[in-house]
C-alpha cells in the first residue's frame, strides 16, 4: 500500500501528469483557458503516430511470436467485456436497457489517452513492455461497439428501430472500421516496423525527443476537458458514479487473467489491465450517436470522460502496475 502511494506520488511529480492537474485546476476555477480544437486534434494525431511508430519499432526488434494470439485475445476481450458492464448496470437498475447497452459498449472499448498516460508512467519508472500492446489497443477499439448494438437491438425488439438510411449506415461503418485514430496508430505501427531502427533515426528528434513535451500540452487539454465534463457528474446519481469507479478495477481483473494466459511480463500486464479498465470517450460516443440515437450522450460521455478517465489517470494506473508487480512475485 505504501509502495502504491509512493508510486502515485512519484507519478504526480512528472511534468506530464502535473500538466493534467493544471488543466483540471484551470477548469475547476472556471478559467477561460482553451486549447483550440485544431491543436488538440493535431496533438492527438501526433501522439497516435508516435506511439504507433514506437510500437512498430519495438516489434521490429523483437521476434513477434506472440502477435497473433495477443490480437485474438484483444478482439475476444473487447467483444466480451460489454456483457459484464451491461449485466451490472441492469442488475443495479441504474439504467434502462438501451442506455445500458450504449454505456457497456464504451467500457468494452478503450481510451487511447489513458493508454498513452500509462505508457508514460511505465517509461518514467523504467518498466519495459511489449510493442504488441499497441496493436492490441487498436484491436480493442471497435468490437465492443458491435456487442453494444446487439444488446440494444435485443432490447428494442425487431421493427422498433428506425430504418437506417444508406448515408447513415455507411457513415457508421466508416466510423467503426476506419476510425482516424486507429488508422494513424496502425499505420504508424506498420511504418515503424517496416523502416526499422535506421529509418526511424531520421525522425528521432520529432518522434522521441519532443514526445514528452507534446504530451504535456495534450494532457493539459485533457485535464480541462475531463474536469469540465465532471461538472455534469452530479446529474448522474450515486449509482452510476459508483459504476464508473468500480467497473475499471473489475475489467482490469479480467485483463490480469488474460495477461497471465498470454505469459506477459510486468509492464505488458499492467498495460493490458489498463486497456480493459479504460472506457472510450471519442470513438464510441460518435458511433453510438449515429447508431443508437435513443441512448443519452449526457450519460455515456460523462461516465467515461468525467468519472472513469480521471479515476484511471489518478488511481487506476499506479494501482494496476502495483498489482502486476505483485502478481509477478507470487508464483
Amino acid at each position: 500500500m505504501s509502495e502504491l502511494l509512493a508510486l502515485a506520488g512519484a507519478n504526480l511529480l512528472s511534468p506530464m501528469v502535473l500538466c493534467f492537474v493544471l488543466g483540471a485546476v484551470a477548469a475547476a476555477i472556471r478559467s477561460d483557458l482553451e486549447i483550440p480544437e485544431a491543436i488538440a486534434k493535431g496533438l492527438a494525431i501526433y501522439l497516435m503516430l508516435a506511439i504507433g511508430m514506437k510500437g512498430g519499432l519495438a516489434m521490429a526488434k523483437s521476434d513477434g511470436a506472440n502477435v497473433l494470439p495477443s490480437i485474438a485475445m484483444a478482439l475476444a476481450l473487447s467483444f466480451a467485456l460489454p456483457l459484464l458492464a451491461y449485466a451490472i448496470l441492469r442488475g443495479i437498475r441504474a439504467l434502462g436497457s438501451v442506455d445500458a447497452a450504449a454505456v457497456a459498449a464504451h467500457y468494452g472499448s478503450v481510451s487511447i489517452v489513458t493508454f498513452v498516460t500509462a505508457v508514460e508512467f511505465l517509461n518514467g519508472r523504467g518498466v519495459a513492455f511489449d510493442g504488441v500492446l499497441v496493436a492490441m489497443m487498436a484491436a480493442m477499439e471497435t468490437p465492443a461497439i458491435v456487442t453494444g448494438l446487439l444488446l440494444a437491438r435485443r432490447a428494442l425488439g425487431p421493427g422498433t428501430q428506425p430504418q437506417r438510411s444508406r448515408a447513415r449506415q455507411s457513415h457508421l461503418l466508416r466510423e467503426v472500421l476506419a476510425n482516424g485514430s486507429i488508422v494513424v496508430l496502425v499505420g504508424g505501427f506498420a511504418i515503424g516496423w517496416a523502416v526499422g531502427p535506421s529509418g526511424m533515426e531520421k525522425v528521432k528528434p520529432f518522434i522521441f525527443d519532443i514526445y514528452n513535451g507534446m504530451l504535456c500540452l495534450f494532457l493539459l487539454d485533457m485535464g480541462l476537458v475531463a474536469m469540465r465534463q465532471m461538472r455534469s457528474v452530479d446529474d448522474l446519481g450515486l449509482r452510476l458514479v459508483g459504476f464508473g469507479l468500480v467497473m475499471p478495477p473489475l475489467n482490469a481483473a479480467i485483463g490480469f487473467a488474460a495477461a497471465r494466459a498470454l505469459g506477459f511480463d510486468v509492464g505488458s500486464t499492467a498495460l493490458l489491465a489498463t486497456l480493459c479498465a479504460s472506457a472510450s470517450y471519442i470513438a464510441v460516443p460518435a458511433a453510438m450517436r449515429l447508431a443508437l440515437p435513443q441512448a443519452r450522450p449526457a450519460i455515456y460521455v460523462t461516465l467515461s470522460l468525467g468519472v472513469t478517465f480521471p479515476f484511471n489517470v489518478a488511481i487506476g494506473i499506479p494501482l494496476y502496475l502495483s498489482i502486476a508487480q505483485w502478481l509477478a512475485r507470487s508464483p
Binding site: S165, A167, Y281, P285, A286, R289, A298, V301
Partner: protein
C-alpha cells in the same frame, strides 16, 4: 423584374445527422442546400456546444430554398424523421429572381 416566391427551409440538427438530412432533402428533390458548421445551441435536449472532442454536441444549420409544396412535405415528415434527434425545423417566405434555380 418579376420576383418569384419560394420557401426557405431551415433545419438546426446535430452534426452526426448531417449526411442523413442532406440525403433526405435530396430525396424530396431540393435543387440545392447550404450548411453552416460548428453551430451551438440550447433546446429540449439541453445545451449543445460545438467543438467537443467527439463532435457529439455540435449542431449544423442547413438552409434550403425550395418550392412551397416540397417545403411543406419536408416539414411534415420532419416530425417523425427527427424525433430521436436534437433538431428543429421551420419555414419562411423568400423571394428569388431566378425561379429555375430552386
Amino acid at each position: 423584374m418579376t420576383v418569384h416566391r419560394r420557401k426557405k427551409i431551415e433545419i438546426v440538427v446535430e452534426a452526426a445527422m448531417l449526411a442523413d438530412v442532406v440525403e433526405w432533402l435530396t430525396e424530396h428533390g431540393v435543387k440545392g442546400y447550404t450548411t453552416v458548421p460548428k453551430v451551438s445551441g440550447f433546446g429540449r435536449q439541453g445545451r449543445r456546444q460545438a467543438e467537443d472532442p467527439a463532435r457529439v454536441f455540435e449542431n449544423v444549420l442547413v438552409i434550403a430554398i425550395a418550392g412551397e409544396e416540397t417545403a411543406r412535405r419536408i416539414l411534415a415528415e420532419s416530425v417523425e424523421r427527427l424525433r430521436d434527434y436534437a433538431a428543429i425545423v421551420y419555414l419562411s417566405d423568400v423571394e428569388v429572381a431566378r425561379p429555375d434555380h430552386f
